[in-house]
Amino acid sequence: MYNLVNTVSLKFFGLCAALLLSSALLQASEKTPQATYNQGAAFAIGSPASSTEIAGWDIDVRPDGVGLPVGSGSVEQGALLYEQKCAMCHGDFGEGAGRYPKLAGGEGSLQDARPEKTVGSYWPYTSTLWDYIRRAMPYYAPQSLQVDEVYSLTAYVLNLNDILDDDAVVDQQSLMQIEMPNRDGFYLDTRPDIQNDRCMQDCLKDTEQKLVSSLAQPQVDVD
């Protein structure tokens, strides 16, 4: 009995000591850089980014219109710009030149053996078109267009796809109200979608296999 009490009290003492020690360690660790970092308080490396600095690079636009600057452009203006800056690669009517992307046509082709994925047949949002023209077009001179020029070219590409009329003018509000034909054509990745078996012997006993050695016609779309 005595021994038991003694053991218990020793254990109790040990527990108290451990608590005190861990509390001391905790206080000490709060002062380490790692603890500071884990609390998100950081190393204070780098410089604060001012709103002016951010503004120069903050070019992204979302489908809900966030990021779209004030401005406007017309199909008519866009046609002139397109002829000067775009037609040499994308063709006079968005049909594409050489291997450069086709921009128009292909409606209803997405289930075909050779689908044509264009702005009109495939792209779900107008914001993507506006954003991409501003950030990456024309190919040989990216980020060279004025905001209104981007609106005009966006309008013209939509016109080539029969989504806007010849006399249409778009701005930051009206562009967001245009519903693209394939806006509901996308769904979240569902992989893993295939369950193979790890068969080791006689795996083809009920299977007819055909050997194909090469395609007659090259399939070219890679991206």
């Binding site: 993507t128 190919y139 996308f186 295939i194 080791m200 083809l204 050997l211 194909v212 070219v220 890679v222």
Partner: protein, 437 residues
Amino acid sequence: MSFFSDEQERQLFTTLETESKPLPGSDRRKFLASAIALLGAAGVAKSASASTANLPPQVPQWSKTLGPGVLTNPYGKPSHFESEVIRRTVPWLTADRISSVSMTPLASLSGIITPNSLVFERHHSGVPDIDPEQHRLVIHGLVEKPIILSMHDLQRFPSVTEIKFLECAANGGMEWKGPQMKSLQFSHGMLSCCEWTGVRLSTILAEVGIKPQAKWVLAEGADGAGMARSIPLEKALDDTIIVYAQNGEALRPEQGYPLRLLNPGWEGNTSIKWLRRLKISDKPWYMREETSKYTDLMDDGRARKFSFVQECNSVITSPAPEAPFKGPGWYRIEGFAWSGRGKIKAVDISLDGGNSWQQAELTGLVLSKSLTRFSIMHHWQGNPMLLQSRAVDETGYIQPTITQLRAERGTNSIYHKNSIHTWKLDANGEVSNVQLS
């Protein structure tokens, strides 16, 4: 092709002439005459290599002369005998070489690391020439403290170094409808594996403090394409790295110098090169490269979006069209396996087009989201074979057949084709690309 450049030859001869001065006249003449003969012999060493002049019992020419000294190539380069081990492109794939792709010569690699000079390239507006002193990474959006980091700033954070594969979503994508690439380099070469060093994106996000509504991160490049992708915050806080070095040196320009993102196991396009901006938001952006491109079009005309992971895959690299067998006997049949979901658990090899399989040995390092080597020893009798490899990853996922992939997804999805690959080995040891379906 000479062993030495003209300048090296002149320098070497001058040295020989100086060194031989103390020799008596006739000895010196003999010495110089033999030196000249050797220099000439070195010049034709390549053509001589096909003969027996350098084979036992002859003493090879290179054992009887001096070679170039240190700093002949201050950075260093492979032996000129390896001049065929280079990246290559398929001209008809793209409109020009500025927005194009080149492939890694997988059949020539050893181990799991791809040398920096051979890592596949994919650019959308060419390679920008970025001065690291002037390069900046801006982090803003739904953060407590928007910041700008210089390259010097980034090097001060805690760093990580990890071996991870990098694969284009379209690797193998030319073969959904049937085999058409004549070599392993073109059928699977949009694939490389490096040791990457940098800062965890989670470290940087802790630095700026993300707001509770945050769900997505936009990563944007400083190239002319302004390449931009939406990355879910879960990934960003998991294993994404902001990388400044590969295989022990600064990133190569074509790999994003001076700074890139690396999303381990995910399609290469999300690992934004020339990284200049990270913006935190509550919604994805639906950029061109996550709508028009890098979405997987299914048979029903609808497409899968945000299909990030590169599923478990494998390919035999020897034999291959570039690495035929030369006569019957023992051979090591080997290849690469990889999975964007983790480690490779097993690889099986079939020599009869998938009827029977034997488990291969995993050789070397088996790391998560890394290329992994597998091999078997096989005594080839000179018989035609249909060679296949089938990888299994640690999640239990088993690499599918092309028939299964087509049944599920059709043939128009371009991306994420990870089916079991078939090489046809002929009696003469030549290998060609075929499909069994």
